[in-house]
Symmetry: C2
Subunit: 284 residues, 2 copies
């Protein structure tokens, strides 16, 4: 496994693989790899002969007061995980390498970046889209792999790729969960033991919504209220949003029909957690 | 010479050339080709084994009330010119092909897009950067060729390529001029015979500025006034701007020193014309 810290070194390694006729798969991550990331790496390895994992805590997707500084950076452990799962190239640039002089160029995806997390993290998706454009231009992958847990990110990146005619395919892999249902996230390690115990309520609230839809409820207001009611069983939880939206456009759907995304963001103490499920509500 | 009207067809043709080990050169144009474009095609042919010319009047770079509808589209004549100059592939998509559904994704280059033409054509450079990103992603050229006449466009595209790590080189070719000094432009054909006769004053004003710098004048205000004085010899001319700026950052330079861009935009009747020269003012 090669580890490249510079754009040039990454390009050289990928070019070599490309010359050998290998398909290139990219798993863009901020490191602190967990089983969710591993599932992306495994999917990439099944679909591509040459697997690249990028490890980069991207400063431009964090807002002021967010957790950029405390975000975990266990590089050695991440490299062990990559090596164990047959990764061919790790691209782990510094912020200086990626944004060597003041960045003036931004990729903005309108509309899709406004609802849900966009309301609470202004500029976040602009940073995500921009760094993904950069990573795609460095690695030129045939496929890039993202987790369904970050559903809005997936919608934004998919749209960017389509709108800008980027020559790659976006592959979305299912959310990987702990035994109690909590979605895998590098931020779970911020939780106290008590918060960790309570955090599984998020998934329970989402499944409750799925049950209610299964029982025939289609009123979005009622369904959102049902999710919030379950979430509020956690003392001190701060609900940022509970939304039922079209999975592609992220626009509210009411009455609920077709494939919908039920998405939630909460804060437990200072830790912000998001989760979602896709439910097929059928057509009346 | 192949003519591709779809993104897929263009990609197939380029892929074929790439497989044969050919370097790819792209000349992005809005058609209505003149000798300025031909000089770009010739430069591309010298530096690349496979030359692609795109012909696309890009709607997203025109503002309301601008000349999108009347912009000349002499496709057959453009194809004759391309064929005569050894172009390998013409990519001539429809607007429907390039923006098939509502475009939500924009490439924004801050700061460089604000002065000069940016003040008079809001959104213009966002449209230019976005369509160039798309064309680069379709053709994946090793080099793309632009004319110095559009100096601000060159600065914006160069910066986009650097900031987003796009894997290509931007090559800038000198402005090609008519015998009387008028910079070649597809918009020159809008001019009446009288306006055409007067239009050479623009280059004369720029050369006058160069002379004044050569005589040791470094006060930007004086130099700008000298350019404006020459321009005002044309009855009814509307001066949009006369600016002396750093050629890379496009920021005003006063006193003038180093390599500066002397840039002008005027309207003759309803026709908007731009021109510029780069002058080395040395260092005091």
């Amino acid at each position: 496994m090669e580890v490249a810290n510079t754009i040039d070194a990454a390009r050289r390694a990928v070019k070599q693989a490309r010359k050998q006729g290998k398909g290139i798969g990219l798993v863009p991550t901020m490191g602190a790899l967990h089983r969710g990331h591993v599932s992306l790496i495994e999917a990439a390895a099944r679909q591509c002969e040459f697997v690249v994992v990028s490890l980069f805590v991207n400063p431009t997707q964090f807002g002021p007061g967010e957790d950029f500084n405390k975000y975990p950076r266990p590089l050695d452990q991440d490299l062990v995980i990559c090596r164990a799962h047959g990764v061919d190239l790790v691209f782990a640039p510094t912020a200086q390498e990626m944004y060597g002089r003041q960045n003036l160029t931004w990729v903005d995806v309108e509309k899709l970046t406004e609802p849900l997390c966009g309301r609470f993290r202004p500029g976040h998706f602009r940073g995500v889209a921009t760094v993904c454009a950069k990573l795609f231009n460095v690695v030129l992958p045939d496929r890039a792999f993202f987790g369904q847990k970050d559903a809005q990110q997936v919608a934004v990146i998919r749209r960017m790729v389509t709108d800008l005619d980027m020559p790659l395919e976006i592959v979305v892999c299912p959310t990987v969960r702990e035994a109690d249902g909590l979605a895998m996230s590098s931020r779970n390690q911020y939780l106290t033991a008590q918060q960790r115990g309570q955090a599984c309520t998020i998934y329970r609230a989402l499944k409750h919504c799925e049950d209610r839809i299964g029982q025939g409820i289609r009123d979005a207001g009622l369904l959102v209220a049902a999710v919030a009611e379950v979430l509020r069983q956690v003392p001190g939880v701060e609900i940022q949003y509970v939304s039922i939206v079209d999975a592609e456009t992220l626009q509210p759907v009411d009455p609920v029909s077709g494939e919908v995304l039920v998405a939630v963001a909460v804060k437990l103490g200072s830790t912000r957690l998001i989760d979602n499920i896709v439910v097929d509500a059928g057509h009346s």
